[in-house]
Symmetry: C2
Subunit: 414 residues, 2 copies
């Protein structure tokens, strides 16, 4: 289908979506979950086509695993939709209302964004997640998934549309762009007349391409060069546990730790203990001169290392003379995601919290907690690393806007 | 000065700006107001250069008037800054704080956006306003004013920087790009490493150019094709007063009414009364067939008229069969600014409020009220017509972001 047709279907659905009440939306979501489970065989067959193509194209094992659907994973997708149905509906809430001296009553009400465009890579479960979060907030969603997952995504969308049809909801509430060419993606990013916001989810390259080429407003998500600063006063055991967790618990995620900053006065004592622990997972350590001389097996870091998001068993180590240098190093190289300090100094903890410029700043905890579920939002559409609209993990509220509603009785401006 | 140097100065100032306390910021603002008044002669001399150039270039009278500075207008600029000093400081407020089951305490705190880029046209007072609003919220501002107001803007910025210097604040807190060429403006819009948000203020052409070319996140402001729908049940006197006010009280502003939508059952009775009133200001009326036949002196509208922001003594009239048609016409042609219904029907009022998609939706009041002062925000940096981040009049809150601050005692993710 042509992009413009998809846009028109979305626009048609949008005006109705914003008027659906919560109970209706929840019932549709529960039905959509049932449809996915009911369509398990079709979904597995479609996914097998994607898997065959991927294997033929020598996709690495890690990505193959992300692409794979199983009966259990389909049940998890359905369960994810049911969980979204159970969340509070933010739409329609009046955030503020006040009466002005001239008698006008000005209320501010939460409304859907309208049409959300998602551009993402190979995980098919994002298709169902994005639909659930957008539908719950009265938004229409247009999905542009990766070519690797095309058959899986088509099957998921068809299944979800089955539930929409059974519920009397226009199919345009969810659309998938099946032409995954660059040309069509470039056009999609400029459909300002049809799309209210674009959310890219994926690697740094994808996100950069969207930020650079889109004219539709974008919520930038994801890339995380997350630092942990080990202060002079840090508890070594705590620091090592936190670093080990943040680096190795899951390496391919944006809230994993990529860079360490260590106070020079402790580096000689601390690094031998840390290297020993990181060796358990064969983590490669790249350090500056002081770091290299502090323990065996640390290789010299190049300037590029300070800005790298490895997403691998690699970590960089920069040593600093004081907390000011640590903060300024972090503010220079970070990507605005998650940064942590390990310290027992109240003053340094507060200074770090106040002066480090990132979506989430931690004292004495792992950066791995930056995520909608861990923050208690119940669900997540992504993690914003920009400052406009939403910052940090984005739950349902990030998919809403507001509208001023003004009730008068004939007021004119003098 | 080179753009990159301006960017570096801004970055240097940014890290300090976010740590200034409210009292310090207010004192600087009060001093800045005094400096403007003290520098009145310099400001008038610089403005006279701009005025001479403008007259030589045959600038129309209306624009000349917007460019002109007088002793009184400089006093008003200073007073505007003092009023911003008197407003509550939103920065540092903890919006929410909760303890998670694992003991992490997650707080969300209001912080500055960072560096705000303003691209605007000829009114020099915007220079002082933008500085005051950004400074109050701990933001650095980089200004790109119009070439017509260059000397005035340079003098204003120099005066404000005098106050910064006297207060020990880095000059990079406010910068003016003196090279107003298109090439430099195009580069400015892509300085993602230095600028957190761009706010364009000006005509539709300027705003479109920024939305299309910027890679820095933009808050779209301003263009307003505002409609008033006169329902079958409207009180005619009220409708005529509201239309007269919204159309003619000030024609060059974005919240002026440009388009009328009228229920077909009342058009024959209503239009003769309305045309009579609008004649007082020689307003040209362009209508569809039913409108043209309803009263003398109405000229036929072309399709383009439905989408026009005239900013002139012209108004279009579309007749409709029912409120559904009115809403769908408005949702098709509006620019997401301000829309009003005049009605005595509770049901139609609620329907209009719920279904019209715009930043501000009115029942029985003039669209001219969409403005930060009228909404009680005390000040305004612009009126957002997009749905991300801020929608409608933007006061100080629209110049803030948030940051998650997480306090732990060694938590790692299981």
């Amino acid at each position: 289908m042509e992009l413009i047709q998809i846009g028109e279907l979305a626009r048609e659905a949008k005006s109705i979506m914003s008027t659906l009440d919560t109970e209706r939306k929840n019932n549709v979501l529960l039905l959509a979950a049932d449809h996915l489970v009911k369509d398990t065989k079709k979904l597995l067959a479609a996914n097998e086509k994607d898997m065959e193509n991927a294997r033929a194209n020598n996709m690495p094992q890690g990505l193959l695993d992300r692409l794979l659907l199983t009966e259990e994973r389909i049940e998890q997708m359905a369960e994810g939709i049911r969980q979204v149905a159970a969340l509070d509906d933010p739409i329609g809430e009046v955030i503020s209302e006040k009466k002005r001296p001239n008698g006008l009553v000005i209320g501010q009400k939460r409304v859907p964004l309208g049409v959300v465009g998602m551009i993402y890579e190979a995980r098919p479960n994002v298709t169902a997640d994005a639909f659930a979060l957008c539908f719950k907030t009265g938004n229409v969603v247009i999905l542009k998934g990766g070519s690797d997952a095309l058959y899986s995504n088509m099957a998921i969308v068809e299944s979800l549309r089955g539930a929409l049809k059974e519920s009397g909801i226009l199919p345009g509430a969810i659309s998938l762009i099946e032409d995954t060419s660059r040309e069509i993606t470039a056009k999609f990013m400029k459909m300002n007349d049809y799309i209210d916001v674009l959310i890219p989810r994926g690697g740094a390259g994808l996100i950069r391409a969207v930020v650079e080429n889109a004219t539709v407003p974008v919520i930038e998500t994801g890339t995380g060069n997350c630092h942990i600063y080990v202060d002079e006063s840090a508890d070594f055991d705590m620091a090592i546990d936190i670093i080990f967790n943040a680096k190795t618990q899951r390496i391919g995620v944006c809230n994993a730790c990529e860079s360490l900053v260590i106070h020079k006065n402790i580096v000689q004592k601390f690094m031998p203990l840390l290297t020993k622990r990181l060796k358990e997972k064969n983590v490669e350590i790249r350090g500056d001169e002081r770091a290299v001389s502090s323990a065996p097996g640390i290789v010299p870091a190049a300037e590029e290392d300070w800005g790298m998001e490895y997403l691998d068993y690699i970590i960089s180590v920069k040593t600093v003379s004081d907390i000011e240098e640590a903060i300024s190093h972090i503010n220079k190289y970070n990507t605005g995601h998650s940064e942590a300090i390990v310290t027992s100094s109240y003053e340094n903890a507060e200074k770090f919290l106040n002066e480090v410029d990132a979506a989430a700043v931690y004292v004495n905890a792992s950066t791995r907690f930056t995520d909608g579920f861990e923050f208690g939002f119940g669900a997540e559409i992504g993690i914003s690393t920009q400052k406009l609209h939403a910052r940090g993990p984005m739950g349902l509220l990030a998919l809403t806007s507001t509208k001023y509603i003004i009730r008068g009785n004939g007021q004119i401006r003098p």
